[in-house]
């Protein structure tokens, strides 16, 4: 029956079963391919993957770096700066658009239009304009994240009932207090959710920018070893990306629960 509840045990067992099935299928495919060609690295065996992991975590004799360390810090810094700046900018602009009709009339149409352009298609344009330094990666992330995030923060402000804003004024609030003590705390859970949902896309924009122009970082490394068909290196990188995405996403979900215990995603208003 649709939406009929299942037990926790059943739920967990089904999730584990899917992961196990993928791992078994992978093992079988890798084994079959290696019957033909023992040196195959497109579907590496578990032993080859382990060797790959060892290789990226030990000091490389030619490049004099540990690949995973150097790439993580390069990509991590770009992500932190690019995503952080995008979030701060879209928060300020989004709240301003939600609160002031003039700001909204000025910016919202332009942002909506920008949001329709596929960000990865613009990467080449950004590269031509700002070169391939840190600015390039920041713009690549911001171009994709900022318009969408600013728009959803603006919509979150719209969801604050007029009644509560009017009531704040009857309680003696100044304009700054209406924003700082009434609107911002009430949109916070929705903002955290919106940020969380943009982490995935932000990684897409950053990695595709790195594929295009970088001499360090996840995108660069994946391209370099992908060209050599060395999936024993590429797969651990993909796994690291997945873990990073999951951890950051879970962290934002956790912050929302901790910071906004009052928030009821299904029940609107009070």
């Amino acid at each position: 029956m649709i939406r009929a509840p299942i037990s926790d045990r059943q739920r967990i067992a089904l999730g584990v079963a899917a992961v196990a099935a993928i791992l078994v299928a992978y093992t079988v495919v890798a084994h079959v391919r290696h019957l033909d060609n023992a040196a195959d690295r497109i579907v590496p065996t578990w032993t080859q993957l382990w060797a790959g992991i060892v290789r990226i975590t030990t000091l490389d004799p030619d490049d004099h770096v540990r690949y995973i360390v150097a790439d993580s810090s390069a990509t991590g810094l770009r992500f932190l700066l690019g995503f952080g700046i995008s979030v701060i900018a879209s928060f300020v602009i989004g709240v301003a658009m939600g609160c002031f009709r003039r700001v909204r009339a000025l910016l919202l149409p332009a942002l909506s239009a920008l949001a329709r352009i596929p960000p990865t298609a613009v990467t080449a344009v950004i590269m031509a304009m700002v070169g391939t330094g840190m600015t390039f990666f920041q713009f690549a992330i911001a171009f994709g994240v900022f318009p969408i995030l600013a728009e959803s923060i603006c919509l979150a402000v719209d969801d604050v009932p007029d009644e509560l804003i009017q009531k704040s004024y009857t309680l003696g609030a100044s304009q700054g207090e209406v924003i700082g003590n009434v609107i911002v705390p009430q949109i916070l859970p929705k903002v955290l959710d919106a940020i969380r949902l943009q982490i995935g896309p932000a990684l897409v924009y950053l990695i595709s920018a790195e594929l295009l122009a970088a001499d360090m970082g996840f995108g660069y490394r994946i391209r370099r070893f992908g060209r050599l068909a060395q999936m024993d290196i590429v797969f651990p990188y993909l796994a690291a990306l997945a873990v990073f995405g999951l951890v950051v996403t879970a962290a934002f979900a956790w912050i929302r629960v901790k910071r906004c215990p009052w928030y009821q995603p299904t029940k609107e208003g009070a």
């Binding site: 916070l188 906004c260 928030y263 009821q264």
Partner: protein, 312 residues
Amino acid sequence: MTERSIMVSMQHVHKRFGPKHVLFDVNLRFERGGFVSLVGPSGCGKSTLLYMILGTLKPTAGVVLVGGALVQGLSRNRGIVYQHYSLFPHLTVLENVAFGRMLDATSIPFRVLRPFAWRALRKRHLDEARDLLTHVGLGDPQTLQCYPHQLSGGMRQRVAIAQAMIMKPSVLLLDEPFGALDQATRESLQRMILQLHADNERARAEGRQDDIVTVVLVTHEIDEAILLADKVVGVSQYWNWREQGYDRCPGATVVYSKPAPIFKPDHEAQHSAFVEQRQEIIRAAMDETVLQPPEMYRTFWKGDAPTARGAA
């Protein structure tokens, strides 16, 4: 009665939304410390009238005075309790009630730059809020820490009234505050409103002029209107506008304005005492087949009668 004792006054107030005529030549005077209930058919403009006193709507023509001053926007002297969205969802019960004290008495720079002074003041505000909540029957420490979504509808409205009352407003406006509640809850909240009468009386006796509140309550329950108020005002579009020379209704106007008996809290209300007044209000305001001159049931204030017609 001297002019000084008038708290709210509306003079030749008209209200239109675009081509839609909602209110026509409303003239009202509410006494300081009085309890007025506004009744009328659904959609006649009761909320519109209330929001012009609150300051979120402007009259198309005419003036609205509160405390002798023209209403211009919202003010910390006029509190409001809505039917929905009555509380801030991100604050606990206690914080919701203390919120007004915080906003009114401090500013963001003060709270940021003088954290110690703010903390001492905050404690005082929370104590005040706790006292007031105890007064409205919500002193239980566990309830104080609840968020609005954890409360029943009746508790929420109690908190909302305390939230408005902590400001010691000169006018308290209530827009169908009990509209969504079941009968038993409604009655317990009515007793709480009657308690405000007693509070007013005590404030008057002790000479605390600033603590006297004038209450305007919008309701669609006629019994509730009679029970809670010392003056019932009926607003309705059912009046003899055709005989006065209009070919379409120029809007609702005041068709009823009479004192109502005051009941003390815990005094068992006698339903039969209402019946006569109830019938009269229904005839004056609710019955669309009875179209009479609007002044017919207006006896409370001579000044309520319009002196010039069609001013807009």
